[in-house]
Symmetry: C2
Amino acid sequence: MTTIPEDIAGENCPAEGLLKQLAGKWKPQIFRLALEGPLRFNALLRQLPGASKQSLAVALRELEEAGLLDKHLIRQKPLHIEYELSTRGRALIQIFHSLEEGAKNGDKAQSG
Amino acid sequence: MTTIPEDIAGENCPAEGLLKQLAGKWKPQIFRLALEGPLRFNALLRQLPGASKQSLAVALRELEEAGLLDKHLIRQKPLHIEYELSTRGRALIQIFHSLEEGAKNGDKAQSG
DNA sequence: AATAGTAGTCATCTTTTTTTGACTAATTGT
DNA sequence: ACAATTAGTCAAAAAAAGATGACTACTATT
């Protein structure tokens, strides 16, 4: 057999899965905007110049499937949908902020 | 003008860059192995079943370009190269561990 | 000189991700 | 009825990422 069990490598690296869930295109930006409150599709589209409906729909669906966002139908006028951080999403807020800090430190470190 | 300055969206989301640097294929696993000590190319290749020379070379180069790994020529027999966590890389160890923790909590959260 | 080990590169192919533009469908306003 | 806003879907194309196999180059051994 030449089949290689990918589990062996992936299984002992839990960070990989979370990184994949968080790192797709538009996802960090969506997550960041979600910190400020519930998100609506078209509003988000306007806040993310360059993102298409499709890209956004995919990113939102994947974030939802990853359990980071919850999707709610709001029965108000106008009838609409809100995306907001799930319990799990909120549990990751500190990590997200760490990532932002780590990124800043990294920028400076390049020169020295 | 229809040109959209991508900076606007990207610039205010520092986490995005770091996530991109960390999240490529094999990168989390390489980073994790680097926590245990210096890495050598062929040894790493054996430790990552499924990874090709090319994939590994690209991942290592990008991790190095991101300033996460340092590359050293070791003038010993056999002459070889070692990759190890840079100062910046070491600065991100805690974040990496947070990601591992966050991933574990996420697994459980899915069922409830 | 041939063989093996060091660490890769290169061109090419395949797979995955992202984008584009058209289309659907329900609700609300005129 | 018609238009606008809600939130998408779908097929196709383009772009990016990843994999494959051959090849390079150096050192050391036989």
